[in-house]
């Protein structure tokens, strides 16, 4: 028998949702202050209005649902999945008020794309967007990359037992430090230290490239936030091509790679355990998949004669590949060039790279390296069982943070999530084809949205069908949360309707 959620359950959800809403609204103080210092008064009003709407809703909900109860597992998951939808709506308000988005749905699309660190965009005339709105676009990537709930956990909520449930709900099942709050704070510390270093490096390169000092550092900060959080937004419409700079491309590759590494490995890196990083199954799998997919991409580019020489093939092919594999979505080519110039093999290699993703407990999307590694270990184990005598004890182990013996439960979990992602990629592709787009293009865009990548072959545009915009929003949301929270929310909705 399915039990209908009680009023107490709803109050509990409402109370913790209110905290997330309040926390998120307060982050808008940053663009407000920035807008005022840049004398951008109308954009400042956009953020003040959005912040007020957020605070009114948050405080009202908090007072209405005041409770001292802690969250259970199901409630933690539901709070997370609803938080992301509410964040999308709240984050879209200042974007929509700017007048640079055609409809509120378009603004929601970009807000979800930002929070989920995807990078697909429907903005109009980006090159004339205010600095404050541009800061917000990149800030939501930074917030979303760390996890919206992590913000609430680390900054606005004092320790509570339900923290772990919300942390896990955001597809973060590894605790770097014994306490979830300390883990959340460590993630922020890592990100802020890298932010300072990345902004400085990109800023200096920008100045050497001929940019004004302010623009160099502003772009540096924005590009860092979007690259480290494997987002892919950029302050200019040409994306990374705007800079016409090899140095910029090299540094963004390094930042994207740092963003794709598991935060636990960052912890090892910081605490001097560098050897562990090279032993880790995720890093090893990542190197292998990058190599294989790059060979496919390079072969395709050679075959289609897309670029004049080996250096161009490497510069364009490798950049797009790393951008896709890490789930960032930075581009140094125009979207239609994927279809016109790249050819089937290159696109196939890139789609595979996008689908695979980066490290677990990082800011990337996609299936993720740990799961791919586990599936291959399981395959190896099964092959051994077939080859070796029946009496032989066959076991497989792998190194991830520590030495781990492969268990069936790990393999099953890896397979379920992998299958869910493949289904999500496929469903999006079928919906794209339903609207008349060719198969390869539909699959490319669907994979990009579901794996939170942001590379586009041109389907994502202001004029695309509304139903496809909604499909991609849902794909970005489900892909970012890695399904469990979404499945729990669906279960909760069913219980609310059919339960007794």
């Amino acid at each position: 028998m399915i039990l209908k959620p009680s009023i107490e359950d709803l109050k509990n959800l409402g109370y913790y949702l209110s905290k997330v809403i309040i926390g998120l609204s307060l982050t808008m103080v940053l663009p407000v202050v920035f807008a005022i210092t840049r004398m951008e008064f109308n954009p400042a009003l956009d953020f003040i209005i959005a912040m007020e709407i957020g605070l009114i809703s948050g405080f009202f909900l908090k007072k209405l649902c005041l409770t001292e109860k802690d969250l259970n597992w199901m409630q933690g998951m539901i709070v997370v999945s609803i938080s992301w939808l509410l964040a999308m709506v709240l984050g879209a308000i200042p974007l929509y008020l700017s007048g640079h988005w055609g409809s509120f749905l378009d603004a929601c699309f970009d807000a979800m794309s930002g929070f989920s660190t995807t990078g697909l965009t429907l903005v109009k005339d980006l090159d004339h967007l205010s600095y404050a709105h541009n800061l917000w676009r990149h800030l939501i990537m930074f917030i979303g990359g760390q996890g919206i709930v992590i913000i609430a956990l680390s900054l606005f909520i004092k320790g509570f037992a339900g923290a772990l449930k919300m942390y896990v709900g955001e597809a973060r099942d590894e605790r770097i430090l014994p306490n979830v709050i300390s883990t959340a704070r460590f993630i922020w510390l890592v990100s802020i230290v890298y932010l300072a270093l990345g902004t400085l490096t990109l800023g200096v390169i920008g100045i050497l490239n001929g940019m004004s000092v302010f623009n160099a550092f502003f772009h540096g900060a924005c590009i860092f936030m979007a690259a480290f959080d494997t987002g892919g937004f950029s302050p200019q419409s040409q994306n990374i091509l705007y800079y016409h700079s090899l140095a910029y491309e090299v540094v963004t590759i390094v930042i994207m790679l740092l963003g794709t590494i598991n935060f636990t490995l960052h912890y090892n890196l910081w605490s001097g355990n560098r050897r562990q990083i090279l032993k880790d199954i995720e890093i090893r799998t990542f190197f292998i998949t990058v190599f294989i997919t790059f060979v496919i991409v390079a072969f395709g580019l050679l075959k289609s004669k897309a670029y004049p020489g080996a250096i161009s093939i490497f510069r364009k092919g490798f950049y797009q590949l790393i951008s896709g594999h890490t789930g960032t979505g930075y581009m140094t080519i125009y979207a239609p060039q994927f279809i016109q110039d790249w050819g089937f093999f290159s696109l196939f290699g890139l789609i595979c790279a996008m689908a695979l993703g980066g490290g677990v407990c990082s800011t990337t999307g996609g299936i993720k390296m740990l799961r791919i590694g586990i599936i291959f270990k399981a395959l190896k184990q099964d092959l051994k069982r077939i080859i070796l005598p029946e009496r032989a004890v066959v076991f497989e182990k792998f190194y991830h943070i520590k030495e781990i013996f492969l268990q069936d439960s790990q393999v099953r979990s890896a397979f379920i999530i992998t299958l869910s992602y493949i289904l999500l990629y496929g469903i999006g592709a079928i919906i794209g084809m339903f609207f008349g787009y060719p198969f390869l293009e539909s699959l490319f865009e669907s994979t990009s949205a579901s794996a939170n990548v942001g590379l586009s072959c041109g389907i994502t545009a202001i004029g695309m069908p509304t139903a496809l915009k909604i499909t991609y929003i849902l794909q970005m949301w489900a892909g970012r949360l890695e399904f469990m929270s979404v499945f729990t929310l669906i279960g909760f909705a069913v219980a609310a309707i059919k339960g007794k």
Partner: protein, 166 residues
């Protein structure tokens, strides 16, 4: 008589060949949009094209040349030009400025060998077709009023007592 005819024929053929050759390389004397260029890269590759757009963002000087990005309101394309171009740019497009519009005649590259595969235009000549300027930000009274009303509502919500079951 026959000799003179042959010379005329030869001259005519030479002119025809030259014209054909010339039109092959500069067959796009009319302005081409960014969308047309980006969607037909192989058609325009290596050809001389005329492209017009607004200067957006930074003008990035690199030695004796510079990069400037021109947007025709659909897409922006990188223009590689002589450094002397910089002197003619008064306004660069951003939130507070409308950039100058320039018409560029230059060679379009689908994948420029000089710039490691970038899609760009190497400018041969340029002329300013529209002067940019400062965009005056008018205070939005409606937004201001909305913000004030919402502030009032927020204060009301803050002073509300938490809901307690009796």
């Amino acid at each position: 008589m026959i000799k003179a005819f042959n010379v005329k024929c030869l001259m005519f053929s030479a002119i025809l060949l030259y014209t054909l050759h010339f039109t092959h390389y500069t067959s796009f004397a009319q302005q081409v949009s960014s969308t047309e260029l980006i969607n037909n890269t192989r058609l325009y590759d290596g050809k001389t094209v005329v492209y017009a757009g607004e200067v957006i963002g930074d003008v990035m000087v690199r030695g004796k040349n510079l990069w400037v990005n021109l947007s025709d309101n659909k897409n922006a394309i990188g223009i590689w030009a002589d450094i002397s171009f910089a002197k003619e740019i008064s306004y660069k497009g951003s939130y507070k400025y409308k950039g100058d519009w320039f018409e560029i005649t230059g060679i379009f590259h689908r994948a420029c060998s000089e710039h490691n595969g970038d899609l760009d235009i190497h400018a041969l000549t340029w002329r300013k077709i529209r002067q940019g300027g400062i965009v005056q930000e008018k205070p939005d009274i409606e937004k201001k009023n909305r913000a004030l009303i919402l502030l009032g509502v927020l204060c009301l919500v803050l002073i509300l007592r938490p809901y307690r079951r009796l």
